[in-house]
Structures are given as structure tokens and as C-alpha cells.
Subunit: 93 residues, 2 copies
């Protein structure tokens, strides 16, 4: 099932580790702090537990939402120019 | 219907205007660049057109997804400490 994963994490190293974990689970980066991809609910839950563990005691907000096909198809998307998301974490790893 | 609105916008003034528009439409800020709230599909579409207009020709990524009640209930959320999202745009307005 498709899901959307968002995070707000102030600590650079933690944020980079969280982004890496999302990529390891096969999610695609769609914004600086937003990933999406198709994972079973079990894997979604597993990833979320992993991200909580990676965050540890640092301040942060994590949100994972399963998104059904109907809602995903109905999304509005507008992508324009380069916002630098794909090089975003290179400095922090 | 509940919706989720995410954006990646590099220009500080544009980003602040986009955040203001989301608040004007009654959405709640849940992360630095993520809002959620209950809007009819018509209002969701209206807001999205407004955000595209506000962005103009600047680089940016905008995403609005309607989220059905089932998916919203199934979300995983973890909020810990202060990531400063509520004062986030004060410097830019």
C-alpha cells in the first residue's frame, strides 16, 4: 500500500539517518523531508519503529500515513525548477 | 474531506505567503512545511490553484493529497520536543 512519510528533525545527523532509512526501505524522496512508496502495512510499521529509534531523544516530528489508491490518484502536484532535494543530505552524512 | 498539503519552496517570502494561505483556509500546521485540515474537494482545488499562483515562477514543489478517514485513522505519529514550527515563519513575513 502506498504511504507518505514526513519528518521534521532539527538535528542534522539524525535527519540524514532518517532519510537513509527511508531510502533503504525503497521509498522515493519527493520533497526535502517527505518520502513516498509502496510498502506493506507491516513494513510501514517496521519502518516507523526504526525511525523512532533513530530519532532517539532528539526533538522531532514523524508522520506516516497510508494512502489508498483513490486518494493518491486524486492528488494535486506541482513541481517546478530545482529545490535541491536530491543533494539535500550530502553535507550531513 | 481531510487533506494533507506539503511544500518545498526555497524563496523565504514565497514560502511565508504559502504558509499564510494555508492558515487562511483553516489548515493546521503539523510540520514546518506540512499542513492538514478538513476542506471540501472544491476548496482543496481552489487552495492549490492559489498556492501555484503565489509560487509564481520560483522553484518549488507543492503537493496536496486528500486523505480518507480510514487512512487518516491508520496514521503513525510521533511528536517529541520543540522543533520550532510555530515560530517558523515569523522572521520572513
Amino acid at each position: 500500500m502506498n504511504c507518505l512519510l514526513l519528518y521534521d528533525v532539527t538535528d542534522d545527523r539524525k535527519r540524514a539517518k532518517i532519510a537513509d532509512a527511508c531510502l533503504d526501505y525503497g521509498l522515493d524522496r519527493i520533497q526535502y523531508s517527505a518520502f513516498t512508496g509502496d510498502l506493506t502495512r507491516n513494513l510501514q510499521e517496521e519502518l516507523f519503529v526504526k525511525l523512532r529509534t533513530l530519532l532517539g531523544k532528539k526533538p522531532g516530528r514523524l508522520l506516516l500515513i497510508p494512502v489508498c489508491a483513490t486518494d493518491w490518484e486524486a492528488r494535486d502536484e506541482h513541481n517546478q525548477g530545482d529545490v535541491g532535494i536530491f543533494a539535500a543530505e550530502e553535507d550531513h552524512v
